[in-house]
Amino acid sequence: MSATIPARRWAWRKPSILPGFAPSLAITLVWLGVIVIGPLGVMLWFTAGLGWGGFFSIISRPRVLGDLWVSLSTAFLASFINLFFGLLVAWVLTRYRFPGRRLADALVDLPFALPTAVAGIALSTLYAPNGWIGAILAPLGIQIAFQPAGIVVAMMFISLPFIVRTVQPVIEDLEVEQEEAASLMGATDFQIFLRISLPAIFPSLLTGFALALARCLGEYGSIIFIAGNKPMVSEILPLLIVAQLDEFDYQGATAIGTLMLFVSFLLLLAINLLQAWVRKRHGG
């Protein structure tokens, strides 16, 4: 007879000597359920009540599809432009030392801190044809406010910190030795950036892009003042939800809300998959 150590049974949590697991988890789950999951569940339940036919007849309305296209195209464009400017700002703030750097670094978070309605009226006033920036562009035949371009400008404003703040810590962690070695072997600065730095930064750029995109798609306050809000041209989907609610069309608002939820979910999923693929390829 040989003594055996009893195999530890599978447990859903690792044992710990610290107290308070059950109550803290219970409160977390209840609060999460009451504030977030429950209400979302109710929206999905109301949507299910419409039936497939009812749901599709709402989301295939030309105004819904048109506004969805406006939201998606402007959000993609704004996040894409910010990939470059966000990377540039993050790079300059992390790598270079210049007077005013800390002030500039603090200012990156302004779009987080500035209430969206304030950003909205400020941007609208700046870019209106008689505004500080609008007046410079008007003689060139460029109009930004009350056009789809205005939506892109507002989205660029609010999503900038998402990309800068995601990329910055990765740039801080880059090993300068590799770059120095490449430089000694005669690589140009641009080659070094493209071949060594960028591949290391790329996964975090994707994360930042995903965060920026989600924020742009959902954004409301900073956009509606500058957008023009012409259905199917310069009206974003969140504004259409508000319009439906104002007309007491709760079914319409619910279906569009569910549509938005699914669209952002699919986009985030796609970007996560892309990111996993990039990581695998670069062996990160």
Binding site: L18, S24, L40, L107
Partner: protein
């Protein structure tokens, strides 16, 4: 060197155009008719009501999410259990949901045709187009703010000190207040700061559930909209300057905290970017 200079120049130009100018125009428009008119716009009793409403909403939503954040960080950072990452994802969910949808959810729950609408109207309780709806919508939107600052921080700090305290015979609350809370102090302050800025400035979610009656159910953000839409541009910017001042104060405090606690903040950010 030339490359470096031009990169810095482009970055500064971009930031000036996109971040500095919007800030300047708020104050410039607010003061465009002189300081007297500026203060006149601010002493309007409706503005005082909007300030009061904004403070009340933040005074409920921020502590609620602070307590939640502490609870969530305790169970997520101190223990290892199946589904922990799912829980973190669910907590972050409100970040990727439009604030307008946050408002819509409250309407679907408590509006006249909503889930509890009949019961509420029978009992003469008004949530939508009133303060409770605005508080709930704000709580939804600011839900992850404290939790997501202190969960990674608590994970980074580990459990060694808490476990030592247990072996020395400390009770749960004692460990929390004497060991864990002091370690999390600045993270909590940081989270509360960001949560408060968002709660006081929230527009989309609150706009959907507010009755939009200037002086009654208007917060500062909604007052900015009301005034702007009724072409009282200077007054709108005067109210906006209060919110911009709040934003600047938030940034100054945030920069100060980041300066004092750079190492921990970098560790937390790194965890998040990974």
């Amino acid at each position: 060197m030339a490359v470096r200079r031009s990169l810095i120049a482009v970055a500064i130009a971009f930031m000036t155009l996109f971040l500095v100018l919007p800030l300047i125009i708020v104050f410039s428009e607010a003061l465009s008719a002189g300081i007297g008119v500026y203060f006149n716009a601010l002493i309007d009793p409706n503005v005082a009501d909007a300030i009061y409403l904004t403070l009340v909403i933040a005074a409920v939503a921020v502590p609620a999410n602070l307590v939640f954040g502490i609870m969530a960080s305790w169970c997520i950072a101190k223990f290892d259990f199946v589904g922990r990452n799912v829980l973190i994802t669910l907590i972050d969910l409100p970040f990727s949901i439009s604030p307008v949808i946050a408002g819509l959810l409250e309407v679907l729950l408590f509006g006249l045709n909503g889930l509890f609408g009949g019961w509420l109207s029978d009992h003469n309780i008004q949530i939508i187009f009133a303060l409770p709806g605005m508080v709930l919508a704000t709580t939804f939107v600011t839900f992850p703010f404290v939790a997501r600052e202190i969960i990674p921080l608590a994970q980074e700090q580990g459990n060694d000190e808490e476990e030592a305290a247990v072996t020395l015979g400390a009770g749960g609350l004692q460990i929390f207040f004497r060991v864990s809370l002091p370690k999390l102090r600045w993270g909590l302050f940081y989270g509360v700061l960001l949560c408060n800025a968002r709660a006081m400035g929230e527009f989309g979610a609150v706009s959907v559930v507010s009755g939009k009656i200037f002086g009654q159910t208007d917060t500062l953000s909604l007052a900015v909209e009301s005034l702007y839409e009724s072409y009282e541009i200077q007054a709108a910017f005067a109210v906006a300057s209060l919110l911009a001042g709040l934003a600047l104060l938030t940034l100054v405090l945030k920069a100060g905290l980041e300066w004092r606690h750079r190492d921990e903040i970098h560790a937390v950010r790194r965890k998040r970017s990974a």
